[in-house]
Subunit: 398 residues, 2 copies
Amino acid sequence: MADISTTLPLTPESVHTAFSKIRDHVHRTPLLTSKTLNSIASSSSDSTPSPKFNIYFKCENYQRIGAFKARGAFHAITHLIEVMGLEEVRKRGVVTHSSGNHAQALALAASHFDIPAHIVMPKISTPSKIAGTQSYTKHVYFSGSTSQEREAMVEDVIKDTGAILVPPYDHPDIMLGQGTTALELQEQYNKIREEQDGKPNLKAVLSPLGGGGLLSGISIYFSDQPEVNVIGCEPSYQGGNDGEIGLKSNPPKRIETVKTLTIADGLRTPVGTIPWKIFTSGSSNKTKNLESIYSATEEQIKKAMRLVLERMKVFIEPSSAVPLAVVLYNEEFRKWVYEEQQAEGGKPWDIAIVFSGGNTTIEAIMGIFGDKSNDKDIERAEGIKGSGGKHIAENIAG
Amino acid sequence: MADISTTLPLTPESVHTAFSKIRDHVHRTPLLTSKTLNSIASSSSDSTPSPKFNIYFKCENYQRIGAFKARGAFHAITHLIEVMGLEEVRKRGVVTHSSGNHAQALALAASHFDIPAHIVMPKISTPSKIAGTQSYTKHVYFSGSTSQEREAMVEDVIKDTGAILVPPYDHPDIMLGQGTTALELQEQYNKIREEQDGKPNLKAVLSPLGGGGLLSGISIYFSDQPEVNVIGCEPSYQGGNDGEIGLKSNPPKRIETVKTLTIADGLRTPVGTIPWKIFTSGSSNKTKNLESIYSATEEQIKKAMRLVLERMKVFIEPSSAVPLAVVLYNEEFRKWVYEEQQAEGGKPWDIAIVFSGGNTTIEAIMGIFGDKSNDKDIERAEGIKGSGGKHIAENIAG
């Protein structure tokens, strides 16, 4: 990766600079609204008063390679080229290890500049993601699943080829690249409000939080706009809300390891060190770059995902559904917004939610939503005499 | 329904008139493109030469109530009001029987004008569709599933209330309303081509074919444009391709009953009598309003649907996937296009596909795509001693 001494400062201006470099390489993804979801979000299932929302959905699931990661990868590569020269980068190549969207994004961005991309993927990666990565690079290596095994193989590749490591989130170039999501969504939001002859008044932006590349980029972009509250959203399952727990510790402390099998599989990583610094600091005219972090349960994520698929007709991966789950079901978040709104005269809030990606499969969805019926099948199967029943049930559940 | 003597002639001009009446009531749905799907459609899995396509997807799954049916329903209601006066229509109300999208569309359009809508639904309709309809009208009646039972209940409602019957497709008002889909898609296509500094050259429009309301509306709209081939697409399962079979009979003959359980559940109906007349006739400067009808197997429909969900990230119901299945897998259609293209110098064709709706559920998708594993489970279950095994399998399959 480009030496950190050469990277731009972590400011809104740098996000604009990053945007000017990558805008021709990435899609301008749509910003969508849904009356149905506004109405669901603005009503309570019980007698507690409900906050009121107009939600704008930034659809990075329609981004190249199906996720926002294309932004950071293109920015990292263009910056490497500026610093080292295209010839040198081509000679050395780039390398990363990833089982998911970052692998595909880096391979895409590198292939655009004819730079060799070496991608280390765990053998157990889903075949569609392996095939996606292989469509952009022929240098795919298969490793064991532990981070030790993956990192060892990356070290080998670097020794053999001199390739430059491009990490998935813990680097300023990646963070600034992902921050262009925020810049674009604000431009689009302002334009929509203008067409409605309304005053732009974006009150909050909610984004999924995994390693923190996207959320830190968004936080940087809005760091000189105190009226916009940036909020991270995590799965609470098995401590997947490491950011929330860390931020609420006294004093706040980054949690360094996470081991969760949440369905929001893009968010299973701990927050990176540089994103963490952004989250826990402020800037000259904003006390907190990041307002807060909230979390959602697996059931809440599933319910939100179902609404996006069935009602909005937009195909997203589970990680993308986490912010909507927070808006719909997190009582702490809803209470905070309600009280803020009351203090401001009860006006609804315009908020933006980032759909980070759409890379999932029908089989994965069947796995997630089949759980309940599988449980029933297991009960039913266990009621059968003999040992066959349980065996069937396990096969079904798999 | 408005007496046919009062309806507009079935011409492109009448589609324009219909559009002027309903455009404020319906969404202008997006026209999308996908490089990935263009590339898949323009290559062959074997050594046969492939036709070349640029596909434009008209996304009526993003229409109000999630399907094109809102267009016909609003047009039928506005025409009724013109002919009979709003007060009279409000006094009498409207009635239909439908288990699906037409019920919801009519209830929505009627509620907009404060007209009572009486909807007869089979008891076994999916709960989400019942709830959807009930959100627009309180007059929902539950009948048995046979058409006799449903029609008898409609007759009762008419006797009791004087309500006016609005059929789902076999009426000029409905057909002209659905035809606005074609008008809108051509406007959008022309604009896109203009922005690309290219000449508009739409060669074909493919639409799902059930009762024929949508396809006949499209055929009418393009009836004075001989260069645009309008093509109907049906599921071949259990004779679901009644239109194709009827059209290929010598002489062509409308098939009056269909009994298929195709996954494309919006297309289980036979072609209506007035649509059939449109399909089998021409107009002053076009020999055939409808170029042809092609069909796709259940497996082909599933493969096409998977591509739309996983690659385009657009959520559609199975009926919507049938035209793409024809483009990708129907050898007869592909050969015809290839030969036409060779005769014209090998240039790719710009074609449009209508995604008719997106009203399906995760459970329905699990049912459709779970089939294969269920088959395996049935085999496995049948291998178990005792009677329990088969019972489990049936429960799973259901």
